[in-house]
Symmetry: C2
């Protein structure tokens, strides 16, 4: 077996509790984000009545989100998380706006380069990479790589010699609707040792990243994580290694419903946390928004294929749509992400409870059973519904051809 | 609102308990299926070393399964559930063997016709169909349609006038690894009324279908369902409608591990149940195997991208593969379907516990965390693993390009 590059150094004293209590105070008065303006998309849908299911994405909303986030966190370099929606139209627009890009694979790097992004604007942010893909990224000029283990660090040292590397740490992400688990990141003490080891392997130990959980509704959650990052900076400095960058990850929310703080509130909370932990010696900051940037920009129109009841005493109707979990709505798993769903056109009928399901013969293809959705009681086969804020993590989750259904179609306006 | 076509008729007296207790007795001595012979696939993999991830399917295993099932249930017409794996190579082979086909969509009907199947051999088995797709099926000569609601029945009457229809009923499917829920089927009393109504709409009320749950490991589960079907036959007969067919659905298992009864045991249990419920007046029988027919025929070879630990005191390694939940292994959801996973080549190292995860940046892309998998302690990046009995519900569940990764590639030999 290989020698452990990292040494054990467990003593830790993060002063996070103090910083965190200050942040909690700030959250109480957090302003709420306004519902996105989907009027351009609605006009398009009314004018073109596209075959369903169909996602329509308004690129001007993407641009607006980019601008709002820049204003809220002016010190941060924005690396768009391509996996949220890699459509060329979105990548082109973001390249034009000056965005950088967080990529998950060689495939995504190719897509971003094809959109005209400079390699210096690309981070290979997946901590799980094949050697050939690292070598490809290095060959095309990508110089920033994530890792969270010694084995990955050694791969990067071999196939992207001299590159800048950052280590993802495990943090607790309370309050996220799509909480992360231990799949990514390592303990901060291991991170510090590995970053010190990176220099010995000829790499540039650049910084620390974390993720506080997707659709994170509590801006205060960045406070503890930033304090952990500072702890890693200090441990590395004690061993003669100067770190420069903190990657605040993603987690910035789409406006699925009420209760979502403004991006300005996130910016303010993060600014306070950075000041509390780093004081005058502020690090370089990067962020990796995906859902925030494109979620609100999309509306998915779907057709009701069937409305039925299972027995004479059933108190809920089953409403089957022409899109489901395997046609793009994978994120309904667990029913945590709850899209706003409304019928097209007016109905005077009262609302009544429904179970919403997809069109496949798969019994797991149920969208919302426990979430308490209601729809007009006169809804019937052929009616159309709209699912709002569906621009992120929909098209690419689509199955290739499950049950013989085509992948989700998308139109970018 | 429309008038209810179906009348309420709730009195029921299924004598299922007696039949069921007899069947339970039979299960105790059920013989176990042998592990499938993957030697042709292994030879292919050794000779060609295909780029991973790659599924290799042995068509001779599919043919063997078809033959075994015919022998076990000689009275049944086999409708292959195309959704399990719609590869043209599989459809071609099954057409040549004389199989019929259960389809979920117009797309699948096109695929089956392209393989040379006669329309009379095709059932449109999805209870959720768009009017245009019903009309398409009718136009190309498909004459057998599933339904489980009045709204669907009216659609079929309008767009496939004169067709044969069968009603899916809700049954309890205990003992299935991928249990069904209420998404499909209606209460038997409603089914009886709707089948009687079908005749009034100009359709041919043909029979009853059910599904006892996918990967159903208890052959006795068909007993209750068959008794329910007989109850519907009797209620329809009382109203002057003669039903002819019982569709026993799918649920026949792949050999993921020990404890799987032989298909002969299923045939015997089903034969006894049919005799107990229907006596001398046996109905036409159809079955819809999907997983059973192609699951064992596939082996998926994957590469280990990374082996890591999250902290110095972590007692399990994380093993990241180049295939995950969004690249074809969707059925690991909930960790009920547990594929046999073994490394390629010999290792003298002891086995040690692992968490298995996919290559995407998605924290939900974890294959097995709680299932207790172990792998050799010297496993490292670049090693290959094989996942056995992965021929069903893998290729078509693949996402189009999630995280920039290509869909699962498959080779048919």
């Amino acid at each position: 077996m290989k020698n452990n590059l990292a040494k054990v150094s467990r003593s830790r004293s993060v002063n996070a509790a103090v910083a965190n209590s200050n942040l909690k105070l700030a959250v109480a008065k957090t302003p709420e984000a306004l519902a996105p303006d989907h009027s351009r998309i609605i006009s398009y849908l009314e004018a073109h009545k596209p075959a369903t299911p169909c996602l329509v994405v308004d690129l001007s909303i993407v641009a607006g989100k980019y601008g709002d986030l820049r204003a809220a966190l002016p010190a941060a370099e924005i690396f768009y998380a391509v996996k949220a929606n890699p459509a060329p139209e979105i990548l082109d627009r973001l390249v034009a706006l000056g965005s950088s890009f967080d990529t998950a694979s060689a495939g995504e790097i190719r897509q971003v380069l094809a959109a005209g992004a400079k390699p210096a604007r690309i981070s290979f942010g997946n901590t799980i990479k094949k050697p050939a893909d690292i070598a490809f990224a290095h060959a095309v000029g990508v110089d920033l790589f994530a890792f969270d283990s010694e084995a990955e660090l050694r791969k990067i040292a071999q196939h992207a010699p001299g590159a800048r590397v950052f280590c993802r740490i495990l943090v607790e992400g309370k309050g996220a609707l799509w909480p992360l688990n231990k799949k990514f990141g390592c303990a901060p003490e291991m991170a510090a040792d590995l970053l010190v080891g990176a220099a010995k392997l000829g790499l540039v130990p650049h910084g620390v990243s974390f993720h506080v959980g997707s659709q994170q509704l509590d801006p205060a959650q960045w406070g503890n994580a930033i304090a952990e990052a500072k702890w890693v900076f200090d441990r590395a400095a004690e061993q003669g290694v100067t770190l420069r960058m903190v990657d605040l990850g993603g987690g910035f929310p789409a406006t699925y419903g009420p209760g979502v703080p403004t991006v300005a509130a996130y910016g303010a909370a993060i600014g306070r946390a950075l000041k509390a932990s780093f004081g005058a010696g502020q690090p370089e900051i990067i962020i990796e928004p995906g859902r925030y940037m494109v979620g609100d920009a999309g509306v998915l129109e779907t057709e009701v294929v069937l409305v039925s009841q299972k027995s004479y005493d059933d108190d809920r109707r089953w409403v089957y749509l022409d899109v489901g979990r395997f046609g793009g709505l994978a994120e309904v798993e667990g029913e945590a992400i709850r899209y706003r769903i409304r019928p097209v056109g007016e109905s005077a009928a009262p609302e009544a409870p429904v179970v919403l399901a997809g069109p496949t013969c798969d019994s797991a293809d149920i969208l919302y059973d426990k979430a308490g959705y209601t729809l007009p009681s006169d809804l019937e086969s052929g009616d159309r519904l709209r699912l709002y804020s569906t621009g992120a993590y929909t098209t690419t989750y689509s199955a290739v051809n499950f049950n013989g259904f085509d992948p989700l179609r998308a139109i970018y306006i």
